[in-house]
Amino acid sequence: MFQSFIDFMGSTGIAAMITNAKDAIAAGASGFDQFVAVIGTPLMIAIACVLLYLAIVKKFEPLLLLPIAFGMLLSNLPMFANSGAIMMHTEFFTDPAYMIDGHLDMQRIFSEGGLLDLLYLGVKLGIYPPLIFLGIGVMTDFGPLIANPKSIILGAAAQLGVFLTFLGALVLGACIPAINFGVKEAASIGIIGGADGPTAIYVTKTLAPALLPAIAIAAYSYMALIPVIQPPIMKLMTTKKERCVVMEQLRPVSKTEKIIFPIVVTIVVALIVPDAVTLVGMLMLGNLAKECGVVERLTKTAENGLMNTITIFLGLTVGATAKASTFLTAETLGIIVLGLIAFCFSTAGGLLLGKIMYKLTGGKVNPLIGSAGVSAVPMAARVSQTVGQKENPANFLLMHAMGPNVAGVIGSAVAAGVFLSMFS
């Protein structure tokens, strides 16, 4: 009986943690690898707990950050190598030694994979982000955009941050030897500036899967921080007179226009950037289902049940890819800094074009709606509304800002398509 107790003690997580640390030191790995092997597990659990705190107490995008943080916790629990209890094997998806000719070894994943491995297939095969877009499509009202077509250009200008950050990431990679950013990694980091979680995940899982957790966490955290990040830039770049502009009321949009819009957008995008169609197509399907009004049961499922299910799967598995060896690196720090820069430049890009439109229209456009071109719907539009109302309490910019805001979703999906067609 005593022997079986000893055997049980040898199989616990505590024993696994000690054994793994000993093995790494015995294997004579380099200094940093040893450091990660010894304190990696407790440190990752601590980071997961900090993220849980941010999600629960600070309410940073809790719907996503909570599953992400818990997924991170689950995949970093101390386990023996080859233990059947391991839920996530990131090496199956990133390490060429576990793949067949650079493709996933499905046989191995199905026979040896844990729960999170199987769920992660939805990310790896690009299933979850488009389905999330389906739900977003149902919740999006393109009316304000159709009523004021010019505002779609603001959604394009806000992609400035995406491309400038791409440039910045390449330069950073060239300057600092510890950071290894090629074009694919740079593209994945740049897309953070689109302020669109599913798009960022969709691009990263194809171009730079190893960076997925860092990019997803950066994108969702900064999205939660938009009300903090944007207003200073907005005040800095606009004059008081510009912020006070009251825009004329939007025209009503007919049902026919709202029904035709998603169909036309899908076709136009497919004709120019086919790689963006997976995302844009699902977005527009959701929107069409809502606007046509004949499939109420489908829209209800897409925006509630389906979307929530996918959110749990997506958050949990993206978090679970954050393993100490790939997450505790200089690259992660670089991504956090570059992600913030991306958000700032995207805001600035939108504002800049907003100012140009203000000049061209003789003061009819309030440049504040430009910053809503980053696609965090509806947070960025609400920030425009709040900043505008501070200058003039009777000014309601919300509906005007929703135009660029939903255009930003299309814009960042197109930017993602551009990157995918260039680098994948």
Binding site: A174, S254, E257
Partner: protein
């Protein structure tokens, strides 16, 4: 990749990428403008009659207030807003003098249908 190469490659992608994104969205803008021409018929504004003094409509005859234990000001504010919205005018032009509950005599199926429509909007 050297710094020079990185800058060159990055700038090229930035310029091409921005051009494509702008091109796609500008085409969509033109499509939307075309849609406006084809599908949008502005409603004639003749039946918009704001800015006159509209007397409190529906429940005009003064009747004793039934539920005096309610927060009246809030109820009146809601009623004023509802009347203003249905008349397409501002609450400044309205002056609610009295209100009275009218029994809802519509069939049960109509009520259920109405409730369904209201629920679907939320």
């Amino acid at each position: 990749m050297s710094l020079f190469e990185a800058l060159g490659e990055g700038l090229m992608v930035t310029v091409i990428g921005l051009i494509i994104v702008f091109a796609v969205l500008i085409i969509l803008m033109l499509v939307m403008m075309l849609m406006k021409v084809v599908f949008y018929k502005p409603q004639n504004d003749s039946h918009h009659v704001p800015s006159q003094q509209v007397p409190a409509p529906a429940p005009v005859p003064a009747a004793p207030v039934e539920e005096s234990n309610m927060d009246e000001t809030e109820l009146i504010a809601v009623l004023t807003a509802a009347v203003a919205a249905s008349l397409n005018t501002s609450t400044y032009h309205l002056n609610i003098k009295s209100y009275r509950r009218i029994e809802n005599t519509s069939p049960a199926w109509n009520k259920a249908g109405l409730k369904d429509v209201i629920d679907a909007r939320f």
